[in-house]
Amino acid sequence: MSRFEALTGDNAFAMAMRQVNPDVVAAYPITPQTETVEFFAEYVADGLVDTEFICVESEHSAMSACVGASAAGARVMTATSANGLALMWEIVYIAASLRCPIVMSVVNRALSGPINIHCDHSDVMGMRDSGWIILFSENGQEAYDNAFQAVRIGEHPDVLLPVAVCQDGFITSHAMERVEVYDDADVKAFIGTYRPQWSLLDLEHPKTYGPLDFYDYYYEHKRQQVEAMEHAQRVILEVAEEFNRKFHRNYGLFEPYRLEDAEVAVVVANSTAGTAKVVVDALRAEGLKVGLLKPRVFRPFPARELADALGHLKAVAVMDRSISFGAMDNAGPLFLELAAALALHGVQVPIADYVFGLGGRDIRPGEIERVYREALQMAETGQVARRVTYLSVRE
């Protein structure tokens, strides 16, 4: 039987780690992910897991230990945020390139500087080309649910890629919410036993991980990573379907909210999508045809599916919690990629970007309502008044 508990997002992910009972966890504490590592260390100390918990001296070492353990055939999990993720950088790419299905909680926090510990998405957006699968979570429940699915997705023989599960720093990670915690046995049955195909500890079949790879074969190995990403989308949907059958929560590539008959929509990921739903309901009560699309899978980017889901709209407003400095119009990465996806799939719709919430700046329903009202204006006029708005920044 499942039960409901009051958990912070960090605690929810730690709870998922306890139930996954990974062979190895190597992690270094960094705000706002710290609680996850602290809770998990408690589970280790209390003997609730069999995990080899490696206390490392930095995130570079954390991810290095994860790669080594994964190559040895272990089921591996870790967690980080912002500057910790940045310090892992070199090994983040190597984890994907060596095809290590590591699952990592990324508790989104602004990447310095000046130094800041609060939420935005500049940390994870930097890893978007690293070869990791990236999942967003609106709340603790979704982070918890994504953790189990991430294990299954990453370990699938057609995928074998690491998976990052994002949640918003402090807003989700430190806010206590109701989370349905599933029965340990049900989780165990869902995630199954990891049977690595190429374990370094399989002494009957000696092998080499990570040899020098030059102009003659490196490119072929990158092409294989593309193939794995292409398989990942199918596997993500298969795993979501199985998860839904077992735990009765429906996940897809993204969540449409009152989108079907909408004329304008906001596209926003993670916790702000929850706030936006409240705004959608309020504006719907006024008779305005507004909806929401909440991306869940950012890598692989479901371009065609997003174009199909947004194709009927008269205007789209993207909300980005980070900036791609120097990119087209200094917009955010979600906007840039979505705008390209819509254009390439023949969706001609006025689209604008709203950067918001950098460094943990609060985003309130009133501000999201302004985005909807401007989107409604775009729909009416067919014109984009401003391509990029830096929402609520003081002039």
Partner: protein
């Protein structure tokens, strides 16, 4: 060069699934300097065998004596010549700076282009 394989035909992630496959990669082609064995001076201390990073010191299986170099894999790094105690003795006793291909040395390093049998 052997026919290169396509991305569908090779293990993922650059993994090498056969043990000992370094044998197939003849690194001798990298060599700029060739070690030449002065057998008469050799005391068969096996320091070169111990230090060679490419396991390229040949040993006679019957009398367990140093027998030369496996030039298929020797990269010409010269570690054998630098750890050789006979070389050290020869240099000290000569009382002058010796070239690395001096014929008095036990292991001398000869420029590949200048090597003659």
């Amino acid at each position: 060069m052997a026919q290169l394989k396509g991305w569908k035909e090779i293990p993922i992630g650059g993994m090498i699934l056969e043990a000992g496959s370094a044998m197939e990669y003849r690194t001798g082609g990298w060599r700029a300097f060739r070690p030449v064995f002065g057998e008469a001076a050799c005391i068969h201390c096996m320091q070169c065998w111990l230090f060679c990073p490419d396991s390229s010191i040949l040993v006679n299986g019957e009398n367990e004596k140093m027998a030369g170099f496996n030039l298929d894999y020797c990269k010409g790094c010269g570690i054998c010549a630098s750890v050789c105690p006979v070389n050290a003795k020869v240099i000290r006793e000569a009382g002058e700076a010796l070239k690395r291909d001096d014929p008095r040395l036990c292991i001398r390093m000869v420029e590949e282009g200048k090597f003659k049998e």
